[in-house]
Symmetry: C2
Subunit: 326 residues, 2 copies
C-alpha cells in the first residue's frame, strides 16, 4: 500500500473516527431489516473519502462549529444508496470482497434500503436549515441517477465516445465529490470565491478518482478491488482505457479487441490479451495522464487558500487519488 495513504490516515485519524461514529448515530432506522442491510453496505470498509473532503473543505474555510460531522454523513449515505442500486443495476456479485446486498437479501430489500438511505441523506441536508445546502444535495442526486441511466442506456455500445464517458463520470461520480466540497464551504459561510474553488477541487478530484477506478479494473490482481477480473467489461461498461485504445487501434487488432469485449464469457487468457493490446495502443497510459491532469487541476484550485495542515491534507488526497491501488 502506498506511503501517502498512511500519511493521510495519520493526519485525519480523529476525523475518520468521528465520521464513523456519526454514520452509526444518524442512521436511525425504525425497521430492523433496514438497519442490517444499510449496515452491510455502510460498514464494509469504505474509505469515507466523501465525508472526509466535506469536513476538510469546511475546515479550510475556517469552520469552527460542531455540525460538520453530522453534515458529512449525507455524502456517505448518498454514496451507499447509489452503491446499493448500482450493484443491482450492474448485476454485480461482489463489492469490497463481500457478497452484495441484493444477493445476501434480495433485490426489493436492496432497492428500498437504498431509498431509505437517499431519504436519510436528504433529511440530514434538511436539518441544516440551509436551502443552499439542500439544493446542492438534491441536485447531486439528480445528476447521479441520470449519469447511471445514461451509462445503462449506452451499456455495451462499442462506439461510446470519450465525450460521453466524461459526461457519465461527471454525473455519477464528480457531482458528489463536487457537492461535498461545496457544502463544506457553505456551512463554513465561506466567500463565493472559496466555495467555487472547493467545488472545483471536488469536481476534478472526482474525475481523477473515477478514471483511476476505471483503470484499476484492468489490473490482473483480482484481490485489489475486491471484485472479479474485468468486472466493468462483463457489465458492458466501456471506460476510458478501452475507449481510447479502440479509437487508436488498427483494423485487425480492433476486431480482435471487440471480439473479446463483446464476449461476456471471456477467459483470463482473453483478458490478458486485451490488456496487452490496450498497452500497445496506450489506453492505460492515456487514462493515467488524464487522471494526472485532473488531479493537478484539483490541486491548482486550492491556490486561493493559504498554506495549512488542512490544505496539505487536501493536496495529498489529490495525489492519493492517483496512486491508490484499492
Amino acid at each position: 500500500m502506498s506511503d501517502i495513504k498512511y500519511k493521510i490516515l495519520g493526519l485525519v485519524e480523529r476525523d475518520l473516527e468521528k465520521i464513523e461514529i456519526t454514520l452509526k448515530d444518524n442512521l436511525n432506522p425504525h425497521v430492523d431489516l433496514v438497519a442490517k442491510i444499510a449496515g452491510h453496505i455502510l460498514f464494509s470498509g469504505g474509505k469515507r473519502l466523501r465525508p472526509l473532503i466535506m469536513v476538510l473543505a469546511a475546515r479550510i474555510c475556517g469552520y469552527r462549529g460542531n455540525y460538520d460531522y453530522a453534515c458529512s454523513a449525507i455524502f456517505e449515505y448518498l454514496h451507499a444508496a447509489t452503491l446499493l442500486h448500482d450493484d443491482l443495476v450492474d448485476e454485480a456479485t461482489i463489492r469490497r470482497g463481500k457478497t452484495v446486498a441484493h444477493l445476501v437479501w434480495d433485490n426489493p430489500s436492496a432497492v428500498l434500503t437504498g431509498d431509505f438511505l437517499l431519504a436519510r441523506s436528504l433529511s440530514l441536508a434538511a436539518a441544516t436549515n440551509r436551502p443552499d445546502v439542500i439544493k446542492t444535495v438534491a441536485k447531486i442526486t439528480e445528476y447521479m441517477s441520470q449519469g447511471e441511466i445514461y451509462q445503462l442506456q449506452r451499456k455495451g455500445a462499442l462506439d461510446l465516445s470519450e465525450k460521453e464517458y466524461m459526461e457519465i463520470i461527471r454525473c455519477k461520480t464528480a457531482a458528489l465529490f463536487q457537492g461535498a466540497c461545496r457544502v463544506g464551504a457553505l456551512i463554513a459561510d465561506a466567500s463565493s470565491q472559496m466555495a467555487a474553488a472547493l467545488a472545483d477541487y471536488g469536481f476534478n478530484l472526482g474525475i481523477a478518482f473515477q478514471m483511476v477506478d476505471d483503470l484499476l479494473d484492468y489490473t490482473l490482481d483480482t484481490r485489489v478491488l475486491g471484485k472479479g477480473v474485468g468486472a466493468d467489461l462483463k457489465e458492458g461498461k466501456l471506460t476510458l482505457p478501452i475507449i481510447y485504445s479502440l479509437n487508436a487501434t488498427d483494423k485487425k487488432d480492433g476486431t480482435q479487441m471487440k471480439q473479446i469485449i463483446t464476449n461476456k464469457d471471456f477467459s483470463l487468457l482473453d483478458f490478458e490479451q486485451l490488456i496487452r493490446m490496450m498497452q500497445k495502443y496506450g489506453g492505460q497510459q492515456y487514462t493515467e495522464s488524464q487522471a494526472t491532469l485532473y488531479s493537478q487541476k484539483a490541486k491548482d484550485a486550492l491556490a486561493v487558500f493559504a498554506d495549512s495542515k488542512t490544505k496539505k491534507t487536501l493536496l495529498m488526497i489529490a495525489d492519493y487519488a492517483l496512486t491508490r491501488t484499492a
Copy 2:
C-alpha cells in the same frame, strides 16, 4: 362511476389542468430514457389526488401566491417514484391497465428513474427555500421506504396483526397525504393550528384511501383497478379485510382460508370461495366501517375552517375516498 367524482372534477377542473401542465414542465430530465419511463408512469391516468389536496390545503389557508402548483408536483413525483420501485418490489405486471415500467423496459431502468423522480421531488422542495417544507418532504420519503420494507419483511406472514397493518399503511400511504396537506398549509404561512388540522385531515384521508384500496382488491371485477384479481394476495400482502376475517374465523374455515391464501396459484373459484368466507366473518364490512371512521375523522379535522368552496371540495374528497371504485 360515482356522482361525487364528477362533482369534484367539476370543482377542480382548472386545478387539475394546471397540475397536469406543471407535471410536464418540471420534469426536466437530461436523458431521453428518463423522460420516457417517467412519462410512462406519470402520464397514465393518475388521479392527481396528492397534488390536488396540497393545492386545496394552501387555498383553504388563504394562499394567494403562484407557487402552489409547482410545489404540488413534489407529491406526484414522489408517488410515481414509489410506484416504480414498488411495482418492481411486488413483481407486479400491470398498473392502471398498462404493463409496468420494469417489464416495458427493465428493472435497472425502473430503479434509476424512480431515483431520479425522488431526487426531482426533493429538488422542487429545496426550491421553495423553506426548511419546514423540505424537512416534511424528506421525512415522507423516509417513512414511505420504511413502510414498504416493513411490508416486505412481513410478506406472506399469516399472523400479521391489525396493528402492524396500520403501521404499514401509516408509513407507506398516509404519510404522503399528511405531508402534502401540511406543505399546503406551510406555503400559505398558516397558523400552526391550521397546519395541524390539515395534516390531520391528510393523515386520516390517507388511511381511509388505503383501506378502500385494499378492499377493492377483493372485488371480482378485474377491470376496476386495472390489475389482476387478488393481486395483493398473490404478492403475499395481507390487508385488513383478510386480517380481520382470519382473526374472526373458526378453526375449520380458518384452515381453508389459509390454504387459499398460501397457494400462489389459487383459481378464480378459490378466490370466490375466499371472498364468501370473508363476507361470512365480516372482513369487508369491518374494513368499510374503519374506512368510514377515518374518512369522518378527516372531515372533523376541517372544523377549524369556515365554510367555503374549498372546504366543501376537501369534504367531498373525504367522501369520495369511500365511494371510489377505481
